[in-house]
Amino acid sequence: MARPMTQTRIACLTPVLGGWLGLAAMPAVGELQSLDDSMMSSISGQAGVTLELDLQTTVDRLSYFDDGNGIHLENVRIGSATDPNGGAFHKIDLDIEADGSLNLGYLVEDRRIEFEDVTLPGAPGVGMGGLFFDHNLQGTFRLSPGSTLSPDGYTFDSAYTMTGGRIGYRTNGNEVFLDDITMDVQAMGVTMDVVGDQLLFTTPELIGSYEVGAIRYSDNPLNHGSSTDASTGLELPSYGGFKGDFNLSGETYIGGGGRVGQEGIRIDSNTQINSANFIYLDDGNTLGLRDITGHYNLTDLRIDVDKDWNGREALALSVGGLSGAFNIGRIELGNQNKSLGRLNVSFLFQDQVIRGQSYTNALYLMGGGHADAGPQGLRLGAQWSLQLADFSYTEDNNRVIFSGLQSWGQGDVTVNVTRDEVQNGTRFFDGLRVGFEGIKGGYRINGLRVGDENAPLQGGTELLLALGFYPAYDFELDGHLTLGAGGASGEGLTINSDVQIRNGSAALIANPYDEGAGEIAQTGLWVSDLNYDMHIRDMTVDVTDEGLAIIKGEAWSTMDVGNLRVGDKSSGASFGRFVVQKYEKGSSMTILPGGAGDVCAGGMGSDAASCEASGGVWETRGEEGVTVRMKHVLARAVSDTRKNAFTWESNRQLDGSGNPINDSGMKLVLNDIYTSDGGDFDGDGVEDNTYGIQSDIAVDVYQTRVVKKEDGADSRGVVGNRGDERIMDAGAPEGYRYVANPTAADMQNRPLGFAVQAEARFKELSINNIDLVHPIGGAQTAVYGVKMQNFDIKANLTATPIQ
């Protein structure tokens, strides 16, 4: 049906309102909900004006100016999503009620809003890339005079359903987009008032749900916002989809005036997350963050067109403060309704000074991305300052808090959608490429608290090393992480990455940086003067029926620790230089919800009676927790950089500044370490190497037995005898006491720690040669081969943080 064209000025009402509502709906999550018919009928006009139009609008450039500095949206278009030359159908029913309320009912079909690029005058020839937004919308909007604060304000009631949505980002002909978006949103009783020189929007309740069918990637420039490839007709690869629901409330202040100059925008807001759920879907398998609650407060967000610390023109977003907390009630993995546990995070982003340098929170958006990836891309000059955060993990009601996380840094992050090719000598891969350029930053954790936030600060952050997370880290970071679409099969992720860390210091063991009397130098055991190169090829990540499966295609790294220091990370005494090289092919890791379950610690038996009869202790560690299954396949050396080796160098010569010179001392080298299945069983002429080193590790937060090791008073003055058990007691002055013969009730109050059930096994692990290397005399082989076979090591360990 040919639809009449109408004045663009009127037709644009709907996108403006739709866009505003869309922005309001963005935090939404959850299961889809239908609009309430009675509610809709109450705000629908019974008489008035009906407008219908096919809208096709193009604008060469749309600019925003701030203190004379402009940012430009290039080639803006509003029209059909499916026909580049067609219009989008709009139907608007408009009427005014007796109380003066303006009622709109609207229907939008097949609409695309897009711009091809975002440019800044100070950066000619490059842009940030383009965005497109496809959708069908149906909804209502009522604008009433008067608000809860003032008769001069306004009240909005809005409800809409979006179907067939797509939101995409496109650079240099490649694009990543959210496909098949469905969203329902209701925002009733939203008020707008003028308070001082700011607009105040108050939202009593914003509820809704959404579902994204797939997140797709295209490397074909002929494709634009289509689920299938224009050349092959095949469905484009997918990262998976997600869905969720939300119930929010809050208020937002919007005023004029930027961080610099006279113009700009200021936003302050606080938001309450009354409830929310988020579910990631990979071929029907789910990773669910359920029962989310929390709040956050954004203070003094300023938006300017400004220059960053390097004098580069950018769209600047700078924040005075961001604080909040959120709780995830259940973290579910797989389809078996099992939970890892509960996560709680509190945070405060605010300006701070670290070692004499000031850090703030700001993001400078610039065009270009990676210099070799083409003219389009996003470059983010970023500075962050996390002054304080605590994150806690609770499973089966046992809680451990990693307390006093601080982080700081600055540098450039680039974002490009790239394809598999080499451009100007730089290797790119299919996917969304996140690049790191000159990032210099760090973080540190103060300690652990067990039970609740008021518990005494304890050590034990080194337990995070088991997750590959250092308790403290200073780094200079370059490299990239490219997220490709499609996993080992079907949906999922494929990751390629090259990352370099320079001049780093990471703690293996870390003492607190603040014991309660202000900041002190953090001491510990440090890998200092660290240069770390890491490379990953074709690593797939999939959510499966039972958990999260990660399969490494090929991975190699060189961790060159200039000095392993004890004490201060810069000046502590050094054990020398250590170089750890890794080269793995076909390694994998699976993360499963649920810990060890029922365990016979220190004995054997499948039930309590048989376990205790064997001398063991029967422990019921609950339903939650985490189990990690790993397989490390150590490949034989193929080059000096792709091999497994360990080098210790000491007695190095010193340069003029007193710093040791690498490769000038004596070295002990364990060269070419590799796994094997023990023979060529498939007859291909090469020894099989598929079994690797297999490890199953189940971790629970659980009560642990801690005994006193000496007679007398301990460091906090609590008296006990050697062999007495520590029992937590809120009524005791120090929160615990020592008990010679704990009762069953006492045993329920043992200190919390980490209970680990582990098994590691391998068929064959070999070291080709062990050499002693003199800087002048060269290498002398001390051991001509080591071969370890048929190992199966099981362990039940408990690790308890102590003061």
Binding site: G447, G459, L463, I509, A510, N511, P512, T523, G524, L525, L564, R565, V566, G567, G572, A573, F575, G576, G602, S650, N651, R652, P660, G665, G678, Y691, T704, V706, V707, K709, G712, A713, D714, S715, R716, R722, V756, F762, K763, E764, A782, Y784, G785, V786, K787, M788, Q789, N790, F791, D792, I793, K794, A795, N796, L797, T798, T800, P801, I802, Q803
Partner: protein
């Protein structure tokens, strides 16, 4: 410490200082009691307890040489072979099995700047401290020392001579702290 070494020991059932340079050879270290720990800063750390078993039921290889522990005539323990000459024979630790349990192994980094009959003040630096468990219980820990013609027992021409076997059972007392710190030229 570079020239300054803890010299005086007091009632040390087992006190070890592991230094990665030879000058520590003359040092003797005294254990700190819990009360003395209050004099030092940075007292965080972890307390480890548990039991570890090796090849309790056998290893992952099943062939003519290795098998389950219930299989007569096969070895179910682990095996380590190494050689010191390029074309020489292999030293072998074979059929390694057993389990051990411990309670109260602690790990921390701490500063020593006091105690040790005044030497602590002179020492004045951080160490990695391994607080040894009082008792380590061994249960059926065993292995054989052997000489072999090949690295694998399944290699052609394999011949092995078992020299002697060791079996450990019972408790080993390990008291005190193992202090690890660098010295010498890194």
């Amino acid at each position: 410490m570079t020239g300054r070494t803890l010299k005086y020991a007091r009632s040390i059932p087992l006190a070890l200082g592991l230094a990665l340079a030879p000058q520590f050879g003359s040092a003797e270290l005294a254990k700190l009691d819990d009360g003395a720990l209050s004099d030092v800063s940075g007292q965080g750390g972890i307390y480890l307890s548990g039991d570890v078993s090796i090849n309790e039921l056998g290893g992952p290889i099943r062939n003519g040489y290795f098998g389950g522990c219930e299989e007569v005539g096969k070895k179910c323990g682990a095996r380590v072979a190494y050689r010191l000459k390029e074309d020489g024979g292999w030293f072998v630790l074979d059929d390694i099995r057993g389990s051990f349990a411990f309670e109260g192994l602690t790990l921390k980094v701490r500063e020593i700047n006091d105690g040790f009959a005044g030497d602590g003040q002179l020492f004045n630096r951080e160490v990695v401290e391994l607080g040894l468990p009082n008792v380590v219980r061994y249960n059926d820990v065993q292995f054989k020392l052997a000489g072999s013609s090949t690295a694998r027992p399944t290699d052609p021409g394999f011949q092995q001579t078992d020299i002697f076997s060791i079996e450990m059972q019972g408790d080993v007392t390990l008291e005190g702290n193992l202090l690890v710190f660098p010295t010498g030229n890194p």
